[in-house]
């Protein structure tokens, strides 16, 4: 069955499978111990750390392994805000960050921080000038007790996970550098798919999104950036960078193998996948009335394209496409647990119902996309014909 939901998770890369299987035999021992098997596990973990750090543009000792991209984002935000508590309590964050970043910022707000949320245009892109302006801290406190506070953290994703739009990270990074504000770049959507932008103070990503195994997140903290683990026990002891608990050495090695492989084939893959997403981008609006392609058509991730079909129920569309053999996801509210519309689409000010995110894994064939493009117009037309508002039962 054609799988078109790589932005949720990329299938395990063949190179990762090979690395995982061999490391299950070679890297099982406790890398914190001092005997032969343990030293071998430690060596493998150090290699994995070194290889991933190199691709992300950092040093091995700047890289921590976490249990997920979500945990990496939580730790990045909480650990920076906590370490810089005496410096101030203002945070700048884009409106379209992954929920893990937004949730961590909300927790800081509950603990007394003030956050400025920077909006986006209709393509989902942050305006660098607006981001820069937000770095000027507001006055906080009641009317009788106003006090200025310093901005202690700014957060901007490398690219958006729902619509693919690439963010102006390097522009934001130079403003942050001038203002001495650390910048967290959540690169989960783009790592292994496009070059890591320069200028980050903290960087987070997730291995299963680049073809590694689930259960491996990464948090890179640039040397000199003030950060303290908010987990019990404080600074991670010498576990080869594993931020908490027993290191999964085989998974770390598989993550490194997948990232190396994706990086090695990145240009080929980018050209191939972009040709296919461009085909979807150009054909759909011509083939299907009242359809809209979201995001920036050019400055976007090569493998993601998000389309909205007016008057269509997103969940029903996902179900019908599944019946036709295609796995895609939707950011429509009715497909989420919360019943809230996607915060990304809401921030863009675009229609939040009736959308699907099509995201191509590395092995996607032209034939799959052509079949998808054949199936989609009829599916949308059938769903539109079947939706009778008078018959819809009020809940």
């Amino acid at each position: 069955m054609p799988y078109l939901d790589a932005a949720s998770t990329e299938p395990l890369h063949p190179a990762a499978r090979v690395a995982l299987l061999s490391a299950l035999d070679d890297g099982w021992a406790d890398p914190a111990r001092l005997y032969g098997d343990a030293r071998r596990a430690r060596l493998l973990l150090d290699q994995a750390r070194q290889r991933i750090a190199a691709v992300l543009g950092g040093r091995a000792d700047e890289l921590l392994f976490t249990s997920s991209g979500t945990q990496a984002a939580h730790l990045a935000v909480l650990g920076t805000v906590r370490a810089r508590r005496r410096a101030g309590r203002h945070i700048v964050v884009s409106a379209v960050e992954h929920s893990s970043v937004l949730h961590a910022v909300e927790q800081c707000e509950r603990d007394g921080a003030a956050a400025t949320i920077v909006g986006v245009d209709q393509t989902g892109r942050v305006d660098p000038a607006e981001f820069a302006a937000a770095l000027t801290p507001p006055t906080v406190g009641g009317p009788d007790r106003r006090e200025p506070t310093a901005t202690v953290l700014a957060c901007l994703q490398s690219a958006n996970h729902e619509v693919g739009t690439v963010q102006p990270v390097e522009a934001a990074a130079s403003t942050c550098r001038r203002a001495s504000v650390p910048l967290l770049v959540d690169a989960a959507a783009s790592a292994g798919r496009m070059p890591i932008p320069r200028g980050w103070s903290l960087l987070t990503a997730s291995a299963h999104k680049w073809g590694g195994p689930a259960g491996v997140g990464v948090l890179a903290v640039r040397r000199g950036s003030r950060w303290r683990s908010p987990l019990p026990g404080g600074a991670p002891p010498d576990r080869g960078g594993w931020v908490s608990g027993y290191p999964d050495v085989p998974a770390a090695l598989a993550a490194a193998a997948a990232l190396d492989a994706m990086e090695a084939e990145r240009l080929t893959l980018e050209t191939a996948l972009r040709a296919l997403t461009d085909r979807i981008r150009h054909r759909i609006p011509r083939a299907i009335p009242d359809s809209l392609v979201y995001g920036d058509p050019v400055n976007t991730l090569p493998h993601i394209v998000t389309i909205c079909f007016l008057y269509v129920n997103g969940e029903a569309l996902v179900t019908e496409l599944d019946r036709a053999g295609f796995g895609v996801s939707s950011g429509s509210a009715c497909t989420a647990d919360t019943l809230q519309p996607s915060h990304v689409l809401a921030a863009m000010g675009v229609i939040t119902h009736g959308n699907i995110r099509v995201s191509l894994p590395r092995a996607t064939s032209e034939d799959t996309i052509d079949r998808f493009l054949d199936v989609l117009p009829g599916t949308v037309a059938r769903l539109r014909a079947a939706t009778d508002p008078a018959a819809a039962v009020p809940t």
Partner: protein
């Protein structure tokens, strides 16, 4: 959103009750029934799906109809839309 210093919102000549309906139903009802009011007239969409707060203004922008105002109701919201053509 405070309406205190703004002129009183126009009275709708048609009210669509989409309370209890999930998007896209309120938008489908709006698209179908806007043709039932004269050009220049205002209609109201009552809805309590939070997605309507984004979708009604976005639909108006897309279809070049005028989104007038959102009013908070005890249950949900009233969205006033002026038919432009």
């Amino acid at each position: 959103m405070s309406t205190q210093h703004q002129p009183a919102p126009p009275l709708p000549s048609l009210t669509i009750d989409a309370l209890g309906r999930k998007c896209p139903i309120p938008i489908i009802m709006l698209a179908e029934q806007i043709r039932d009011v004269p050009v220049g007239a205002v209609l109201a969409v009552l809805a309590d799906d939070p997605a309507a707060r984004t979708d009604v203004p976005a639909w108006c922008g897309l279809k070049s109809q005028e989104f007038v105002v959102e009013q908070t109701l005890p249950r949900g919201w009233a969205f006033l839309v002026r038919r432009c053509y």
